[in-house]
C-alpha cells in the first residue's frame, strides 16, 4: 500500500554483472596475457616457470595484502617499500655480521632480533596512524614522509655497506625450499623436482588470513564500510579513526615482514633494494580490480593483480626484444589494465 511505484523492481541482473565485472575484467586480462606469452614463446608455459612467477611475486604479495586493506578504506600507503627496506636492514643490524662487513651493529639472539624488528615495523605503522588520525595529515603526504624517514633509517643503519647475515629463522623463510614437487625422471634416470620456497608458503598464509579477516570478521566489514561511505560509517557509530589507524598498522607490519623475508630472499641487505616494490604492490592491488575510491575489491582481486603483474614481468623476459623497450611496454600494459579498471567503475555507477 505504501511503497513508491519505482521501488518494486526486483533483482537487477545487469547490476550484479557490473559488480562481477570488477573481477572478470582483470581475470580476462590475465588469460589474454598467458595465452599471448604461451603462443609466442616456448619457454613461458612450463611448470618450472609457473612456480618461478609465483616465487618472484611472493614478497610483493605480502606487501600487497597490507596495501589491500589500506586501499579498501580509500587511503594509500606510499611507504610500503621503504618500510620493507628499513625493517629488512634492521633485522640484519641486530645480527652478527662477518668481519669484512663494516657496520657498527648490535648483534642479538636471533629471536630477540626478530621481535625487536617486528616492533620497529609496528612503530612505523603507529606513527603513520597517529599522524593521520590524531593530527589529520592525509595518507598521501603522511606516508610520503614516512617513506623518506624509513629510507633515512635504512641509510643510517648500513651507511652504504651491505649486510649478509640474518637470524636463522628469517634465512629459512626467505631463501630455503619448503618442499619439492616431483616431476618424474629425465632420460638419464635422474629424478626431477621443482623446489617450492617458504616465501610462497608465507605469502599464501597472508592471502588466507587477509581474505578471512576481510570477509568473515566485523573488522573486515568495517573496513569495507569505511571505504564505501566514510560519513555513513561514522553516522552508524563505527570508530572510523580506529579502523583507518588499524589498516595503516597492518600495512606496515605486512611490509616489515616482507622486508625481512626479502633481504633473505635477495641474499643481501642494502639501501634502495625494494624500490620497485612500491609501484608493483600498488599496481597489483589496483590492476586486480580493487577500487582506489575504496569499498570494493579484496584479496582475491589482489591475487589476480599480482599474477597479471608477475606474468607481464616474467613473460617479457621470454620474448626476444630490446630490454630497454621492456620497461616502456610494461608501463603501457599497466596503463591499459588501469583504464579497464576505471571504465568498470563508471559502468558500475551507470547501472
Amino acid at each position: 500500500m505504501s511503497s513508491a511505484p519505482t521501488a518494486d523492481k526486483g533483482f537487477n541482473p545487469k547490476q550484479v554483472f557490473a559488480d562481477k565485472l570488477r573481477t572478470i575484467a582483470p581475470l580476462l586480462t590475465l588469460v589474454a596475457l598467458v595465452v599471448f606469452f604461451s603462443s609466442t614463446t616456448t619457454t613461458f608455459a612450463t611448470m618450472d616457470n609457473a612456480v618461478n612467477i609465483i616465487r618472484q611475486m611472493s614478497i610483493t604479495g605480502i606487501i600487497a595484502v597490507g596495501l589491500t586493506f589500506v586501499i579498501l578504506t580509500a587511503e594509500i600507503d606510499l611507504s610500503v617499500a621503504a618500510v620493507a627496506n628499513a625493517v629488512g636492514i634492521t633485522v640484519a643490524y641486530f645480527t652478527l655480521q662477518p668481519d669484512y662487513v663494516n657496520i657498527a651493529n648490535i648483534p642479538l639472539n636471533g629471536w630477540i632480533a626478530i621481535v625487536l624488528t617486528l616492533l620497529s615495523a609496528l612503530a612505523f605503522g603507529l606513527i603513520t596512524a597517529f599522524g593521520m588520525t590524531k593530527i589529520g595529515i592525509p595518507s598521501f603526504i603522511m606516508t610520503l614522509a614516512i617513506m623518506q624517514i624509513a629510507n633515512g633509517v635504512s641509510a643510517l643503519l648500513v651507511r652504504g655497506q651491505i649486510a649478509y647475515i640474518y637470524p636463522d629463522f628469517i634465512t629459512t623463510l626467505g631463501s630455503k625450499t619448503a618442499f619439492q614437487i616431483p616431476l618424474g625422471v629425465d632420460e638419464a634416470g635422474k629424478a626431477l623436482f621443482i623446489p617450492v620456497g617458504w616465501t610462497i608458503i608465507v605469502c599464501l598464509l597472508f592471502f588466507i588470513v587477509g581474505h578471512f579477516v576481510l570477509t568473515y570478521t566485523r573488522f573486515g566489514r568495517y573496513v569495507y564500510m569505511v571505504g564505501g561511505n566514510r560519513e555513513a560509517a561514522e553516522f552508524s557509530g563505527v570508530n572510523v579513526k580506529l579502523i583507518i589507524g588499524s589498516v595503516m598498522v597492518i600495512s606496515a607490519l605486512c611490509s616489515g615482514i616482507a622486508g625481512m623475508l626479502g633481504v633473505a630472499y635477495f641474499g643481501s641487505a642494502q639501501q634502495n633494494q625494494f624500490d620497485t616494490y612500491l609501484l608493483d604492490a600498488i599496481a597489483a592491488v589496483v590492476v586486480g580490480g580493487t577500487s582506489l575510491f575504496g569499498g570494493k575489491g579484496g584479496i582475491g582481486n589482489t591475487i589476480i593483480g599480482l599474477l597479471v603483474l608477475g606474468v607481464v614481468n616474467n613473460g617479457l623476459d621470454h620474448i626476444q626484444m630490446d630490454s630497454f623497450q621492456k620497461i616502456l611496454i610494461r608501463g603501457l600494459i599497466l596503463l591499459a589494465a588501469l583504464v579497464i579498471n576505471v571504465y568498470v567503475e563508471k559502468f558500475r555507477e551507470r547501472v
Binding site: 500500500m1 511503497s3 513508491a4 537487477n12 566485523r218 561511505n229 560519513e231 555513513a232 553516522f235 552508524s236
Partner: protein, 510 residues
C-alpha cells in the same frame, strides 16, 4: 565597464516610475509538476520588495526565472520596460540583474579586493593585473556600503556579515540595478543585520531595486516597502508594508481560515512533565552556529525541534551525537556526563542518529542486509560475522517496516527514497536505542512512505524510546511532537509543552 553607483534608472512616465522588473502571468512547471501558476510580480526602482512563503511555495522558482537560470516558462518578463527572454544567467547579469545567494560564493583565501573583482580583474597593457587600481576601486565600492576595510584583508578572516557585503559589492560592481538577496540575514547577528540594512537602504536611496527573500518575518517587515506572499505556487498577496503585520503575513502564508486545513496544521501537545529527564543538554554553544541551546529529552516522548535553515538544528543534532564539537555547555545522560568524543562512543551509550541526507547514512552499493546490520555487529558477533543471522534480522525489519521490495540482498541504491529512509531507521532498531535523533525524517517522501515513517516513529515512542525530531518543516514537527522547542539563530527562543499549537504559532516564534 564600471557602473557608477549612483546610476539610477529613474524613468518617469506620467509621474509613475516604470518597474525595473515586471513579470506578467508567468507559469512554470517541471515535468507536469506545477511550480508557478499565473504569477504577476514587479520591482520598482528605489524599492525593497520582500518575498515570503514556505519552502516549496514557488519563491526560488520565480527568482531563478528572473536570474535567467530557468529559460523556459510561460508568460512575459520586462526589464526596465523592455520585453526580455533570458537564455542563461549571463543574459540576466548583462541586463542588470544580480543575485546574492544564501550560500556565499566569496573565496575565503583571497583578499577583499580580489573577491570584489573575482574573474573581472582590471588589467593594464600586456594582461598584467592593475593591482593598485583594483585596490582603490574596491575600497571605494566597499565604502559606499558603509564599510571601512583594508582591501588587502583576507576575506576568510572577516565576519560572515562583512563577507556578505563584499559579495553584494561584487554584484553591484557587475552593474546590477536589480539585486535579489536570498535569505541574507539567516547567518547574521543582530548588529550585522543592522549594518546590512543600512547598506540596503543606501542602495534603495540610489534607485536600485531589491528583492529581499527571507523566512525572518520581522526582518522582512523592517526593511521592505512592499511584501509579496507565495503559497502553493501562487502569489496570494502583494501589499504595502504599512498595511501588514506579522499575523497577516502568516495568515497569507498558510491560508488561515480557508478550507485547506489538513494534517500537520495543528497539534495538541502532551509533554510528560512529571517524568525525569533522560538526556539533558545545557547551554550548548560552539561559538558559531550554536549560542546556548538547552533541551530535555524524556523516555517515551517525542521532542520536536523546529527552526529555519541555518538556525543550528543540523549542528545541534551532531553535537549530541559526538560529531560536532562545542565549546560551552554540558550534556548528561541518565545523570552522567555524556560529552561524546566520537560517534562510536555515542552509539555505545545508546544514542542513534539518522541525518537529514540519506546519502550520509547508507551504503548505496552494499546489499540491504549489510546496511541494516552495521550498527549491531558488535552485539551479535564476537569475532566472526554471521551473515545468515544478519539476513534474518534484516528480514524481520523489512517485514516490520514494510520495506519494498522485501529482499535482503539487493543493493540499497535500487530502493526508492522512502524505502531507503526506512532502512536507515531499521539500522537503529536492530539495537534498540535509548535516544533516537532524527533530522528531517520525512523530507522528500511521498505521502504513503511519510505515513509509514510517522507510524514507526510513534510506535518507537510508545515502546519507551526517547525521540528527538529536528525539522525545518512545521508539519513534520506538529504531526510528531509531544513537546516543541523552537530554535532561532542558535538559541531556543520558545518551548511549548501543552495545549494546542498551530503552524502560525511556530512560524511566529521562529
Amino acid at each position: 565597464m564600471i557602473q557608477p553607483l549612483a546610476d539610477a534608472t529613474q524613468d518617469t512616465i506620467n509621474g509613475e516610475q516604470s518597474p525595473l522588473i515586471e513579470l506578467t502571468d508567468v507559469s512554470k512547471s517541471f515535468g507536469g509538476v506545477v511550480a508557478l501558476e499565473h504569477v504577476d510580480f514587479s520591482v520598482r526602482p528605489g524599492e525593497i520588495h520582500g518575498l515570503v512563503g514556505e519552502n516549496g511555495a514557488g519563491k526560488s522558482t520565480l527568482m531563478k526565472i528572473i536570474a535567467g537560470v530557468h529559460a523556459s516558462y510561460e508568460g512575459e518578463m520586462r526589464v526596465e520596460g523592455k520585453p526580455v527572454q533570458f537564455r542563461s544567467a549571463r543574459d540576466a547579469i548583462a541586463a542588470g540583474i544580480g543575485m546574492v545567494h544564501q550560500e556565499l560564493s566569496v573565496v575565503p583565501d583571497l583578499t577583499v579586493a580580489e573577491n570584489v573583482f573575482l574573474g573581472v580583474q582590471p588589467v593594464k597593457a600586456g594582461g598584467i593585473i592593475d593591482w593598485s587600481g583594483m585596490k582603490s576601486q574596491a575600497r571605494g565600492l566597499i565604502a559606499s556600503l558603509g564599510l571601512d576595510l583594508d582591501p588587502n584583508t583576507r576575506v576568510g578572516s572577516l565576519p560572515v556579515g562583512v563577507q556578505q557585503l563584499i559579495e553584494l559589492s561584487r554584484v553591484l560592481f557587475s552593474g546590477a540595478r536589480t539585486i535579489i538577496l536570498d535569505e541574507p540575514t539567516s547567518a547574521l547577528s543582530p548588529p550585522e543585520v543592522a549594518r546590512l540594512f543600512v547598506a540596503l537602504r543606501k542602495l534603495r536611496a540610489e534607485g536600485k531595486g531589491l528583492i529581499f527573500i527571507s523566512h525572518f518575518l520581522d526582518d522582512v517587515l523592517e526593511i521592505s516597502d512592499r511584501v509579496t506572499v507565495f503559497r502553493n505556487s501562487r502569489r496570494v498577496a502583494t501589499e504595502p508594508r504599512a498595511s501588514l503585520d506579522k499575523d497577516k503575513i502568516i495568515g497569507h502564508m498558510i491560508g488561515r481560515g480557508s478550507a485547506e486545513m489538513h494534517m500537520g496544521e495543528t497539534a495538541t501537545l502532551n509533554a510528560r512533565r512529571d517524568e525525569p529527564a533522560l538526556l539533558t543538554a545545557r547551554d550548548i554553544a560552539d561559538g558559531r552556529s550554536l549560542n546556548g541551546v538547552s533541551v530535555e529529552l524524556k523516555r517515551g516522548e517525542i521532542t520536536g525541534m523546529y527552526g529555519f535553515m541555518g538556525s543550528g538544528l543540523v549542528e545541534f543534532a551532531r553535537a549530541l551525537f559526538g560529531r560536532h564539537g562545542f565549546t560551552r555547555g554540558d550534556i548528561t545522560l541518565e545523570g552522567k556526563p555524556a560529552h561524546f568524543r566520537s560517534t562510536a562512543a555515542a552509539r555505545k551509550a545508546g544514542l542513534a542518529f539518522v541525518p537529514e541526507n540519506r546519502g550520509m547514512m547508507l551504503f548505496r552499493t552494499e546489499p540491504v542486509y549489510k546496511n541494516v546490520s552495521i550498527a549491531m555487529l558488535d552485539r551479535i558477533h564476537k569475532l566472526l560475522l554471521k551473515p545468515q543471522e544478519e539476513r534474518a534480522v534484516a528480514k524481520h525489519h523489512i517485514k516490520d517496516l514494510q520495506i519494498r521490495p522485501p529482499l535482503t540482498d539487493i543493493p540499497l541504491g535500487s530502493l526508492s527514497g522512502g524505502n531507503q529512509q526506512k532502512v536507515a531507521l531499521a539500522k537503529w532498531l536492530t539495537n534498540m536505542p535509548k535516544i533516537l535523533i532524527l533530522s528531517e525524517p520525512t523530507r522528500g517522501m511521498d505521502v504513503g512512505a511519510k505515513e509509514d515513517v510517522i507510524r514507526i516513529i510513534k510506535t518507537l515512542r510508545d515502546k519507551g524510546v526517547s525521540i528527538l525530531v529536528l525539522s525545518t518543516e512545521p508539519e513534520t514537527i506538529l504531526t510528531l511532537a509531544d513537546k516543541i522547542y523552537v530554535l532561532k539563530r542558535g538559541v531556543v527562543v520558545s518551548e511549548m509543552n501543552a495545549g494546542t499549537v498551530t503552524k502560525s504559532d511556530l512560524l511566529a516564534a521562529a
